[in-house]
Symmetry: C2
Subunit: 188 residues, 2 copies
DNA sequence: AGTGAACCGGACAGCGTGTCCACATAGCTG
DNA sequence: CAGCTATGTGGACACGCTGTCCGGTTCACT
């Protein structure tokens, strides 16, 4: 069958992912070369390129399950993250959850954006759709422009700068983000 | 004297800047190679590298005067951009001015960030200091984290995505940004 | 076991970067 | 105006990374 993956292929995929995770953890994404990954995983370049055309796809694969879990909770989890709470509270909960995600997997998120921009990743589309629903629910006029504005501070470069250079804590950042929910209040 | 620039050097600097401006205008920053610029300017690679170690420095040089002008107006211009108006209004004026800058020189701003991140550029430090003053003036507790959050939507990638992919107008984007000034309102 | 298909891995060519140095030229000096 | 020196110039060079390609190998099924 074409849907079945051969045993050796599966084993190599696992080794690649494991090696990539280690490398992404120890140095900046743009300094991790495809050669490094192949070397550390003990496979040849061709094998690596067969499945993953670039670094980004590897990081995406590593990130996938974590993002999936959060996406699931947004869609069907308990309020305030899931449906049922007021838009502003859901947005605040989303921010807190995203800070958690960034804190745990910053290098991976950063790695998933090498070469292409974050807007081209599938995940951005999901976050965008989610926040858009909240903005619309709050009755904000012209919601489209606001969505990306609200999502912008979650760019990994911004978070990394705040954490590593400025030395801010996740709590401080979350608090500042929570302040953004004021934009959903009815107003002029 | 060591402070004096030789005439031929000055002429070549002008040719390099002119060539780079044309190239940045016609294609994406990462597709403009140092070779392209040297070729178009009619100088050798060595000459190019002598003054500008990378693409970013060239874009910064091109951007310099535009940013300087805005910085001047922020410091000493008329309210609401300059001093004298309430913090929220000054922030709104700053956003509007930055949209103008991005709209006019998006490729340059983008180009000034190849390789390094925008936080390392001198300009970011200036915008940061300015917004920080406004946030502090508004009496927001824990201002530091909020500053970068407020600055994040001005990242050229975000603006470019909103304009080119989403098809939003500068006015729509400015309006959404203006909504962010609500974060300066006194609150819980 | 035998067979076809999928998979593996290293070699290869192309591209961009950044450095280096022999040569040329500007601008000072007598 | 001619000689001198520091500065500027330009192209050749070596290196590292990318992405592709193909001969050989291994798996899974019969």
């Amino acid at each position: 069958m074409s849907g079945m993956e051969r045993a050796d292929a599966a084993r190599n995929r696992a080794r690649i992912l494991e090696a990539a995770a280690l490398l992404f953890a120890e140095k900046a994404p743009q300094d991790v070369t495809m050669d490094d990954i192949a070397k550390k995983a003990g496979v040849g370049r061709g094998t690596l390129y067969r499945r993953y055309p670039d670094r980004a796809s590897i990081a995406v694969a590593l990130l996938d399950e974590h993002e999936r879990e959060l996406q699931e909770r947004l869609l069907r989890g308990e309020p305030p993250l899931g449906p049922g709470a007021p838009a502003a509270e859901r947005l605040a909960a989303f921010y807190a959850a995203m800070v958690g995600l960034l804190e745990g997997h910053r290098h991976l998120v950063l790695g998933s954006e090498v070469g292409r921009s974050r807007f081209e990743t599938g995940a951005y589309g999901f976050w965008r759709a989610h926040v858009r629903v909240l903005v619309v629910a709050a009755g904000v006029p012209g919601p489209d422009a606001l969505v990306d504005v609200l999502l912008a501070p979650l760019a990994p470069e911004v978070y990394g700068y705040q954490r590593s250079v400025l030395g801010l804590t996740p709590e401080q950042i979350t608090e500042a983000l929570t302040r953004l929910t004021k934009t959903l209040d009815p107003g002029p």
